[in-house]
Every structure is written in structure tokens, then in C-alpha cells.
């Protein structure tokens, strides 16, 4: 197998996925389309978190906060400044880029579990801060903000749900292309180098502080964009929408989907969206226990996430086809672990 064919292969898979994603709403009901839209939105958020946790090795338990900031930015712009929905995506991303970068600066001093706790603090205080009375004029306090559902433009003969799905899909594709481009070059290598061996990375001349805070900013930007889309699609934001559990389910989605994997974000999005529904349909008495069993199952059967498991499967197939050919072992690095402590 030559690198070229592998490359073509990957483009082929991506193109097929996009075509499939475009065709799906044609056979699904409005409600199912709406669910898929939510899964796509979670995928964007997870891509952001993956950038930070999977590629750069910084654990965040607070991305629900950036999701909330993005959602509120979009909602306030639509509600108070009458901006059309599509014009709120970029501002939401920019606000979260700034917020993430600023939060990333002090977070530089924290590593591993300590960073996880610091970000968790962010997730815990977000719902209460959103109720704060000085900003109630904009946030609507506990009542939140109710938004209007956007209609398809140019009188397109499709339902509003389908239109929002295609709108979200377009942004997802753009976001993933941008992220893929970022990760395959210098920046991506620098992020991974910092994750795997920070001291060696700095010796190579990588500005670890800058890259780490940038990773935080870009990661927050992705999650903020997802939050804005979430607000538009759900048509409602309120403090209770952004409980700490949202942040945790993001981390769950990233790990179950596949760390340091672009396609992992998509699988993660599907997991975040659909597993709670499956759990609820199995047991009303203990939906969280079922959720836990699912997680255990995932982690036990697919330790490198859904994306990792698929990669292993694909490799096995190629190995069988081209017997004797040398195939590199799959990448299943754990994150945040420095292989060798320099002491």
C-alpha cells in the first residue's frame, strides 16, 4: 500500500460520508433530521475538545461553559440586535476564541488533573453566573431567551428542519476541513509534540505556552460555534441547558469517539446524542446505570474509541489482503501521559 493510495482512500471515505450525510434527510422524518443536526453540532464541539485533549493533551471538563457562551452570544445577538441567525456564528466563534485564549493563559500553570479541576470549576459556575442579575437584561435570567425558528431562504421547498440540517452540515464540513488543515501541518505536529514530550518540544524551539493557549482558544472557538448552532436549532437558551453534566458528556464523547482522531468527533457526536435516548428506552428507573454500562462496554471493547476500533479493523483487512507487506501498528496513544519523566 503506497501513501498515495492511502491518501486517495481517505478522501474517498470523506467524500462518501458527505454525500451520505446530504442524502440522509431525504429518507428521514423532520424529527430524525433534527436529531442528526444535534449530533452534527455535538461533533463540532467534540472536534474542538479533541483538538485540546486528544492532540494537545490538556484535559478540559469545562467545555460546556464555552458551549454556553457561544449559545448565549448567538441568542443575544438575535434577540437584542436582530441579527439574522447565520450572522451570529462567526461572532460566537470569535467571542469564544477570546474567552478560551484568556482562560488558557492561567491554565498554563496547571497540568493534567489540576487543569481538569480548574476547567470543571468553569462548568460548575456557568449556570449560576448566567442567572446573575447584572447581566439579566441580556441573558433573560432563569427564564432564558426564546428564539424564532429560521425559515429556509429563497423559499426553498424544504422544511425548516432540513434546511437547518444542511446549514449545520455545511458549517461542519468547513470546520472539519479547517481543523484538518491545521492539524496536518506545523501546528498539528507542534501540538502533538507538546503532548508527547513538552521538554523535548521546547528544546526544538516550539513556544509551548503560546501553542497551549492557542489550542485552548481554537478549541473553545469550535465549541462556541457549536453552541451558537445549538441555540439556533433548539430555539431556546436557559442556564439549566448548560449543567456541568454537559461538559462531562463532551469528554465522554471525545473519549468514546476516539481521541486524536478527526472522524472520532463524528462518532462521539452520535454517542452524545443517541446513547441517553437508548438508555432511557431501556430503563426509566435507572437510565444513568444503563448509560454507565454502555460506557464500560465501549471502553472495554474499544479502548481507543470507535474511530480507533474501525482503524484496527481496516488495517486487519488490508494486512490480510497484502500479506507480508509491512503495516505500521495503529496509533493508540493515551493522552496527557508523558512517556518518560525527565527526572
Amino acid at each position: 500500500m503506497t501513501p498515495g493510495s492511502d491518501h486517495r482512500n481517505r478522501w474517498g471515505v470523506a467524500a462518501t460520508a458527505v454525500v451520505l450525510a446530504c442524502a440522509l434527510p431525504l429518507v428521514l422524518s423532520n424529527y430524525q433530521t433534527f436529531q442528526l443536526t444535534l449530533a452534527l453540532i455535538y461533533a463540532i464541539a467534540l472536534f474542538g475538545l479533541n483538538l485540546l485533549t486528544g492532540y494537545n493533551g490538556q484535559i478540559s471538563l469545562g467545555h460546556g461553559a464555552f458551549y454556553a457562551i457561544g449559545a448565549y452570544t448567538a441568542a443575544i445577538l438575535m434577540d437584542h440586535y436582530d441579527l439574522p441567525y447565520w450572522a451570529t456564528i462567526v461572532p460566537a466563534g470569535v467571542v469564544c476564541l477570546g474567552a478560551g485564549f484568556l482562560f488558557g493563559l492561567p491554565a498554563l500553570r496547571l497540568e493534567g488533573l489540576y487543569l481538569a479541576l480548574a476547567t470543571f470549576a468553569l462548568a460548575v459556575c456557568t449556570p449560576q453566573l448566567l442567572k446573575y442579575k447584572l447581566i439579566e437584561k441580556w441573558t433573560g435570567g432563569v427564564q432564558g431567551i426564546v428564539l424564532l425558528k429560521p425559515d429556509p431562504p429563497l423559499d426553498l421547498p424544504i422544511s425548516a428542519d432540513r434546511w437547518l440540517y444542511y446549514f449545520t452540515l455545511a458549517i461542519t464540513v468547513l470546520a472539519f476541513l479547517f481543523g484538518w488543515n491545521l492539524l496536518r501541518g506545523r501546528t498539528g505536529r507542534a501540538l502533538v509534540a507538546i503532548r508527547d514530550h513538552p521538554i523535548a518540544a521546547e528544546t526544538m524551539g516550539i513556544n509551548a505556552a503560546l501553542y497551549k493557549s492557542l489550542a485552548f482558544g481554537v478549541s473553545a472557538m469550535y465549541t462556541g460555534i457549536a453552541g451558537a448552532l445549538g441555540a439556533i436549532v433548539v430555539q431556546f437558551v436557559a442556564p439549566d441547558s448548560f449543567s456541568p453534566f454537559l461538559s462531562i458528556s463532551f469528554l465522554v464523547g471525545v473519549v468514546v469517539g476516539g481521541l486524536a482522531s478527526i472522524s472520532g468527533a463524528i462518532f462521539g457526536g452520535l454517542v452524545v446524542e443517541f446513547i441517553p435516548n437508548v438508555a432511557d428506552s431501556i430503563s426509566k428507573a435507572a437510565p444513568w446505570a444503563i448509560y454507565g454500562i454502555f460506557l464500560l462496554g465501549f471502553m472495554y471493547l474499544m479502548p481507543s474509541g470507535v474511530a480507533g476500533a474501525l482503524r484496527v479493523l481496516a488495517m486487519r483487512k488490508t494486512t490480510r489482503q497484502t500479506q507480508g507487506a509491512h503495516v505500521a501498528p495503529p496509533l493508540t496513544r493515551s493522552t496527557g501521559e508523558v512517556p518518560q519523566k525527565s527526572q
Binding site: Q128, V234, Q235, A238, D280, A285
Partner: protein
């Protein structure tokens, strides 16, 4: 097709068409048929408010009883679909859309939580699906002019406040009212009720209003402020944790006004006991359903029936939990509205009958508390019985009082 068959077919079609008006009384909207009525619900079975899940389970158990013992409602079994939303509004939107668009329910019933119901308020009204008897006390659910498809159930916060003011007017001359409220829409709802009831004329009776945030560690300074204002009536609009603190602090600083405590914080076990039962003596509240721990109901027929139902259909639930009485009464209200629909089970008629409940007696509500609605009154329960805490239990006194929005 030969001419003969064509003619026969035409005649047959004509006969069917002609015959169909004969069935005109039977009209079905989505979710209703000769055999079934589909009702949907979202409930926080998981998440921060999962204690309320008991309500959903009690309601499911009630409809099971209706199906098994009464053969359903007018011969149709109730298919009750209750989904978990984890008290998260986006999840509520998703689950309610599933109920309306996939499961095609006739109506939703007792969807729980103010934020969750706010999230689906516009959707339900745009889709013209009855959003019946929502499980929240906010006043905004009774707005038939702007939201003709949404209806509350329990006494709303403003109505409760009006009942207190009425009592104060009649019984406490020269009342000077001090009020403590939580700084959110729940607290403000009560304040609106108090101001409305006092009107321009008695505005001066309200001498002091202080607020607290749910994040505040204590409310000591607020209570000291209230005492300093010279108030001799204390209206305590707080959630359980703060209600405990307020009752204790007032007693400890030797402030002894006539105290009114809102209905959400009247649990003896979790509010009054930690405050000190002695310190809570004399506190007044309003009750509208029968508290299962109150021994005085034990011989009432509806209470006995409720106990038997708990044993048979809801055996895993905590028999002391008031939510089981609440769910039972709410489900009975829906049963009544659906019975009134007869064979016309369209969404329009469900809404029409829900707005046409006249002096309906519902089991497990306080004696004398009746359910009343009309096309302009979307507040089913607006009555209650004043109760005073005697040091061990709530003791009802006086007649049924009401604060219908007139």
C-alpha cells in the same frame, strides 16, 4: 373494469360516503382511535431534579389502574408515554418533538419544570398540540389569549400570594408586611401577586422587600433588615434550604411576626425539623392536596382508595412522598377532561373540554378544593386551605379560600 362493476363500485362508494355522517360523533385527531388515546410527557427521571420523577411514575401507575380497572376512558386504553429529559431544556425540546412528530400523541400532560416548559411553549402552540396541566406553578401558563394550547394545573404563585394577602386584610389590622423573596422569576411572581392584591390603596402595607440569591451562603442580614423595618407580618418566599434558615434566624433574633411560608417549602421533615419545630410554631401556609403523612385523612374514602392504589400499582414508591398524591390528583384531572371529550377526540376538543371543567371534585385534593376552568380561565386550581403549624403537624383552619383572578 366492466360497466357493471364500475356501477357497483360507485354505488358502494356512495353508500359508504352517505353512511359516514352516521359516525360523525366519532372524531379522532392524531393519537386517538377506537381503542387508544396516546398521551405524552417529559419528566426528569435523571439529572438534578430527579426527585420529581416520582410524579411521572405515579401518573403512569394511575393510567395503568384506569386501563385495568375501568377499561380505559370511554372504552379506550390510555397509552401513556413518559420520557426522560434530565431537566435539560434542549432535551425536552427533542423529546417533545419525538412525542408530537413520531409518536403522534393527542396531547402532552404534566411536562415538568418552568425552563423545560418555556422551551416548548411556542412549539406546542405553533403545532396546536394541547400542553395540558404543566407541572410548574409559574403564572404564565394561564394565558389563553396568547397561548391557547397551554394550561397550568396547580395554584400559581400569584394566586397563592393573593390568598395570603386576603387573609392578612381580614385578620391582621395595621399589618406591616415584610417579604423575603428568591431573586428570580419564581420570587418575582409572588411579588407581583402581593402588589396586585394590595393595589394602589394599600401599597403602603408592604414596608420592606428583601431578596437573596440561591448562591448566598446565609440570609441572616436580610432577616435583620426585615426586623428593623418594623414589619409585623413576614411573607417567606423561599426554597426549602432558605426557608429553614429564615425561620430559625427570625426566632433567634427575637422577631415574632405572623409568618407565611410558601407551599413549596412546607415539608415538615426537610424544612421545619431542621429549623426547630418549636421555632416554626404558628407559621401559616396554604395546602391544596392531601399530605400523605397527615393522620387526619386516614378514614377518608379517597385516601383509602389512594392507599390501595399505591399498594397495587405503585408499590416501589415512597408512601410518605407527597408527589404520589400530587401525581394521582393531576392524572385524575386529565381523566376527567378526556371523559368529557366523549367520542370527539380531536386536539381542539381536548382543549375545549380542559377549559370546561366545572366544580370538579378530584380525589386527594383538600376537601372543598374544586377544579374550575373556562375559555378565559386556564388556572385549574385556585383554591386552598390555610394551615397553621402546631409544632408537630400542619393543621388546616378556616374555610376553603380562593383567589380566582377576578
Amino acid at each position: 373494469m366492466s360497466r357493471a362493476t364500475l356501477i357497483t363500485t360507485a354505488i358502494a362508494a356512495a353508500v359508504i360516503l352517505a353512511a359516514s355522517p352516521g359516525h360523525a360523533q366519532k372524531k379522532y385527531g392524531p393519537g386517538a382511535s377506537d381503542t387508544e388515546i396516546k398521551i405524552g410527557q417529559t419528566m426528569p427521571y435523571s439529572g438534578p431534579a430527579s426527585a420529581y420523577g416520582a410524579i411521572g411514575k405515579a401518573e403512569a401507575a394511575y393510567f395503568k389502574m384506569v386501563n385495568e380497572e375501568k377499561g380505559g376512558i370511554n372504552g379506550r386504553k390510555v397509552n401513556f408515554i413518559s420520557l426522560d429529559d434530565g431537566y435539560s431544556p434542549p432535551k425536552t425540546v427533542e423529546q417533545v418533538r419525538r412525542l408530537v412528530e413520531e409518536d403522534q400523541v393527542l396531547a402532552t400532560f404534566q411536562t415538568l419544570g418552568t425552563p423545560s416548559n418555556t422551551a416548548i411553549h411556542k412549539y406546542m402552540n405553533a403545532k396546536k398540540v394541547p400542553q395540558l396541566f404543566v407541572a410548574t406553578g409559574a403564572t404564565k401558563w394561564g394565558d389563553p389569549k396568547n397561548f391557547p394550547w397551554t394550561m397550568g394545573w396547580q395554584p400559581n404563585y400569584q394566586a397563592e400570594a393573593k390568598i395570603y394577602i386576603k387573609y392578612i386584610r381580614d385578620n391582621i389590622p395595621n399589618a406591616k408586611i415584610g417579604m423575603l423573596i428568591q431573586n428570580d422569576d419564581y420570587g418575582k411572581d409572588y411579588l407581583v401577586g402581593v402588589n396586585d392584591a394590595l393595589g394602589e390603596k394599600d401599597k403602603a402595607m408592604l414596608v420592606k422587600v428583601v431578596t437573596y440569591e440561591v448562591t448566598d451562603p446565609t440570609i441572616d442580614s436580610q432577616i435583620i433588615d426585615l426586623k428593623a423595618s418594623g414589619a409585623n407580618v413576614f411573607i417567606n418566599i423561599t426554597t426549602p434550604k432558605f426557608a429553614t434558615m429564615a425561620i430559625r434566624k427570625a426566632y433567634d433574633i427575637d422577631w415574632h411576626p405572623t409568618q407565611f411560608l410558601n407551599n413549596v417549602s412546607t415539608s415538615v421533615g426537610s424544612v421545619l425539623t431542621p429549623a426547630g419545630l418549636e421555632k416554626a410554631k404558628g407559621v401559616i401556609t396554604i395546602q391544596y392536596y392531601k399530605d400523605p403523612t397527615d393522620p387526619k385523612w386516614k378514614d377518608e374514602p379517597d385516601f383509602k382508595q389512594w392507599q390501595a392504589w399505591m399498594k397495587k400499582y405503585n408499590p416501589d414508591a415512597n408512601a410518605e412522598d407527597g408527589f404520589n398524591a400530587y401525581g394521582y390528583a393531576a392524572a385524575a384531572t386529565l381523566e376527567q377532561a378526556l371523559r368529557q371529550c366523549g367520542d370527539d377526540l380531536t386536539r381542539e376538543n381536548v382543549m375545549k373540554q380542559a377549559a370546561n371543567l366545572k366544580d370538579v371534585k378530584i380525589p386527594m385534593l383538600q376537601p372543598g378544593v374544586l377544579v374550575n376552568t373556562s375559555p378565559t380561565d386556564f388556572y385549574p386550581i385556585e383554591q386552598g386551605v390555610l394551615s397553621k403549624f402546631n409544632g408537630t403537624t400542619w393543621e388546616t383552619f378556616g374555610p376553603v379560600v380562593s383567589a380566582s383572578n377576578s
